[in-house]
């Protein structure tokens, strides 16, 4: 802990995973991880190492587990941010293999979570457990509770909004699996959240329910602290930078909502177009049956339209499964981020109120009482955490959207390429006999 290295704490640049396929993986990030998105070293250092009575930011550790502050793992963590290609990444998590469980009381799906890690926090190098949605939900609330100053990634929606979807259908399960995988990966990438004890248990415990029942409240100092912030204080003005974040999130969510509606509308129109195409193609076949010389060309056109129809169906399926859910996730993300902003406001409000109260007391030797200092400390930590997370979030958001939109463009390109191939291949068929004449 002494002699903290001059390097900044790792910011989560997108390291491409070597071993595990990332469903939304793009090419490796072109920008240096350490670049402008890194929060200022001093601030972070102060947070992690400056406090004498520090309980580590990843949450209280039960006796027996080595603390992440031990030099080896610290070094590990610090080396991370210099590695652009993630060579020394030490935690990999993947969600796959959904399975349906039919019990007397209910039917539900579980997913396999595979963890590979060299971190000392993990007793074994590899774990494989099964979890269901409500376990993820539990994890998320625990993270929110224990890490209130951080932005916790969103989960896919609990209930299916458009009632007709079958929650056991392959497409739905696959979409959800991808979202859950993304959720865990975001936590994995986070330098603080990834060390959270609840997260560790989630990844490793054989019997999660037993652990849940223990009701261990593993709050960080901050968590504990923030928990006790009284909600009664009203913040006068949000500081400029946080107001800017708030405004940004408002507009961002609005625009995403619009994009979601547009995307849905496009899919709807495409499906209706598909319906017509499915009737259109076969008419050429019917015609072909009447003809002699034209029979083959007409049949060819019919088959061609059929191929285009299939390609279109693939496009709409892809967009529904891959594009829309990510948009919705980000809307949920920005909603939860706004809540964190509000909490921050409360912390600041309390501090300012108490400060004012002291100032009004008109003591001879105005000494800032300990509890006001605590409030200030709390506020400053919150601000630092939040700012760091915001930068990280902005960076990831940029990567995610670049990937998402490029993916959308790709899917459309592939659709047109399939159609192009189909039409080009029948030109010789159509021209054939004409030249033979």
């Amino acid at each position: 802990m002494a002699g903290g290295p001059p390097k900044a704490l790792p910011s989560t640049g997108p390291h491409s995973l070597r071993d595990m396929p990332h469903p939304l993986a793009g090419s490796s990030s072109e920008e240096a991880v350490g670049g402008d998105s890194t929060p200022s070293p001093d601030l972070l250092m102060a947070r992690s190492f400056g406090d004498k009575d520090l309980i580590l930011p990843n949450g209280g550790t039960p006796a027996g587990t080595s603390s992440p502050a031990s030099s080896s793992s610290l070094l590990n963590r610090l080396q991370l941010d210099d590695d652009i290609d993630g060579e020394t990444r030490d935690l990999f998590v993947i969600v796959d293999d959904p399975k349906k469980h039919v019990c007397t009381m209910e039917t539900y799906i579980t997913y396999r979570i595979t963890t590979k890690s060299t971190r000392v926090e993990f007793d074994l190098p590899e774990y494989s457990v099964r979890r269901r949605y409500q376990d993820f939900d539990w994890l998320r609330s625990k993270l929110e509770e224990s890490q209130p100053t951080h932005l916790i990634p969103p989960l896919p929606e609990k209930f299916v909004v458009k009632g007709v979807v079958d929650r056991f259908s392959e497409e739905f399960v696959e979409t959800r699996r991808k979202a859950l995988d993304k959720f865990l990966k975001r936590i994995t990438d986070h330098p603080v959240l990834s060390f959270n004890e609840h997260f560790n248990v989630f990844l490793t415990a054989k019997d999660l329910n037993a652990y849940k029942k223990q009701g261990i409240a593993l709050l960080t100092r901050m968590g504990e602290s923030v928990k006790h912030v009284t909600g009664g204080y009203k913040l006068r003005t949000r500081p400029l930078e946080f107001a800017a974040i708030g405004d940004y999130l408002d507009t961002f969510a609005l625009k995403l909502g619009t994009i979601d509606r547009i995307a849905q509308r496009i899919i709807k129109e495409e499906i209706e177009y598909l319906v017509e195409l499915r009737e259109y193609g076969p008419v050429y076949s019917t015609w072909s049956a009447l003809e002699g010389e034209l029979a083959e060309p007409l049949e060819g056109v019919s088959a061609c339209i059929g191929n285009c129809s299939t390609a279109l169906e693939e496009l709409t399926d892809d967009m529904t499964e891959d594009f829309l859910p990510v948009l919705r996730e980000y809307i949920l993300y920005s909603d939860s981020m706004k809540s964190v902003l509000k909490k921050r406001d409360q912390v600041q409000a309390e501090y300012e109120a108490k400060l004012e109260a002291v100032a009004l007391r008109k003591e001879d030797r105005p000494k800032v009482p300990a509890d006001v200092e605590k409030c200030q400390d709390r506020m400053e930590c919150f601000n630092a955490d939040l700012k760091a997370d915001m930068e990280r979030w902005q960076n990831n958001k940029r990567q995610d959207f670049r990937q998402l939109l490029m993916g959308m463009a790709d899917k459309n390109i592939q659709y047109y390429e399939k159609c192009l191939m189909a039409w080009e291949s029948i030109i010789p068929l159509l021209q054939e006999k004409q030249e033979a004449k």
């Binding site: 940004y248 507009t251 961002f252 625009k255 619009t258 994009i259 547009i262 509308r265 496009i266 129109e269 495409e270 209706e272 177009y273 319906v275 017509e276 195409l277 009737e279 259109y280 008419v283 050429y284 019917t286 015609w287 009447l290 010389e293 034209l294 060309p297 007409l298 056109v301 061609c304 940029r398 959207f401 670049r402 939109l405 490029m406 463009a409 790709d410 459309n412 390109i413 659709y415 047109y416 390429e417 159609c419 192009l420 039409w423 080009e424 029948i426 030109i427 159509l430 021209q431 006999k433 004409q434």
Partner: protein, 450 residues
């Protein structure tokens, strides 16, 4: 060009067996791809060499359309569109064309021309006119007859109609057609004076009437069946195509919304802003590209429509055969019954029930003189009937021969044209796909710079 003298002697036969060989009987020049059939030109060749003019190539175009107002038959104001028909003769040597005739016609005159041809050439699959009213329209297109796009497409259709006639080995020689291109005033009167309306077989119009024909030529029965099915399938195709066009339009246009929202979003983004903004521009390009694409596709729809209407013309020829066959069978039947009557009278046996037979029984037999008289009348009728039957038979066979020749010609034309139409449709689709790939590739590049 001087006006050719009218031919009042023109005989109206149900099926002219030879091309009209009058010196002034029409164009006779080789036009377009379909050179006048070699065999048909025999009688015309001599007259053609008489006048070098006819050897020149002729170009016909419907070059303009104009809105006009005038008074109609009921003396009411009406608005209609007039089309400018220009005829040019092309010098063989230098390929230059000289405008020889230019006049204005309206759609109803085209209709008149066609109706005339239908009556005078019942064995020919007469080229159809473009539709009178816009049908199979997808929503963005106007169904209004005055709409400029519709008028434009009709102009092209009318030109096509004239070119089809001009390139038909038999129809191109028709004088009325020639006058249609050259005689502006009085043309309607000229046509009406041929009296073709009176000669038209009204039964041809009664599409649903069935005639019990015992021995139709199977080829015609099959052909009629084919033309019915063709009409049905092309109608279906055109209907669905219009719906497909509608939906495709919707898909493209909604993408335009991305342009606006990307632009708004880019305003709050620092690094992502430029990429989003420029991608949005490409989405706008994508959305607007559909207008041209669908306009081109209308041309394909028009090609299909032509053959939809051609199917009707085909059907008309089959129908004509049916009616001729029916008349023939009726005549034969009538003759047979007269012969029988005659026989019965001659031999005195009454094998069949007849009114005369009954009255004879009731009122006594007729006198031998009366009987002789009746036999004589019958014999005359039988004679006449036999002559008629013979000529009807001949007519029928000639009709079948000539009609089938034109049908074969038509089949080749149809196969060629439709294949070309399908090729051009495929080419349109390919172009659309390539544009799509281009736009999305551009957008992808913009996204990659986000």
């Amino acid at each position: 060009m001087e006006q050719a003298p009218r031919d009042p002697e023109r005989q109206l036969q149900p099926a002219p067996l030879e091309p009209l060989g009058c010196p002034d009987a029409g164009l006779g020049a080789a036009i377009g791809k379909e050179a006048a059939g070699a065999g048909e030109e025999d009688s015309g060749v001599d007259t053609m060499t008489h006048n070098n003019f006819w050897l020149k190539k002729i170009e016909i175009s419907v070059s303009e359309a104009e809105k006009r107002t005038g008074r109609n038959a009921m003396n009411m104001q009406e608005t209609y569109t007039a089309y400018l028909i220009e005829t040019r003769s092309v010098e063989h040597t230098d390929g230059q064309s000289v405008l020889t005739d230019s006049l204005w016609r309206r759609y109803s005159e085209f209709e008149l021309l066609r109706n005339y041809l239908l009556v005078y050439y019942p064995h020919i699959v007469v080229p159809p006119l473009p539709e009178k009213r816009a049908e199979f329209v997808w929503h963005k297109l106007s169904a209004d007859n005055m709409d400029p796009d519709f008028v434009e497409r009709r102009r092209i259709g009318l030109e096509n109609f004239l070119l089809r006639i001009a390139s038909h080995p038999i129809l191109c020689r028709d004088k009325i057609f020639y006058l249609f291109l050259t005689q502006e005033g009085n043309w309607k009167e000229t046509v009406n004076e041929t009296g073709f309306q009176l000669k038209a077989d009204s039964r041809l119009k009664a599409l649903n009437a069935t005639f019990r024909v015992k021995n139709p030529d199977k080829r015609f029965t099959d052909l009629k069946h084919y033309s019915d099915e063709l009409q049905s399938v092309i109608s279906h195709l055109l209907r669905v195509r219009a719906r497909v066009a509608d939906r495709l339009y919707g898909v493209y246009k909604v993408h335009g919304n991305y342009g606006r929202v990307f632009s708004e979003w880019s305003a709050i983004e620092k690094e992502m802003g430029d990429g989003l903004q420029s991608a949005g521009h490409h989405m706008d390009v994508y959305a607007s590209s559909i207008d041209d694409i669908l306009e081109d596709e209308e041309h394909y729809a028009d090609q299909l429509k032509e053959y939809l209407f051609y199917a009707e013309a085909l059907r008309a020829v089959c129908r004509k055969h049916e009616l001729m066959q029916y008349d023939l069978e009726m005549a034969a039947q009538d003759l047979a019954s007269k012969k029988q009557q005659c026989e019965e009278l001659a031999t005195g046996t009454v094998r069949t029930f007849s009114l005369k037979g009954m009255t004879t029984k009731l009122f006594g037999q007729e006198t031998p003189e009366q009987r002789e008289a009746r036999i004589k009348v019958l014999e005359e009728q039988i004679n006449e009937g036999e002559q008629q039957l013979k000529s009807k038979n001949l007519e029928g066979r000639e009709f079948v021969k000539n009609a089938w020749a034109d049908i074969e010609r038509f089949k080749e034309q149809k196969n060629r044209d439709l294949k070309e139409a399908l090729i051009s449709y495929a080419v349109m689709q390919i172009s659309m796909c390539k544009k799509g790939i281009q736009v999305w590739t551009n957008a992808k590049e913009c996204f990659s710079k986000m």
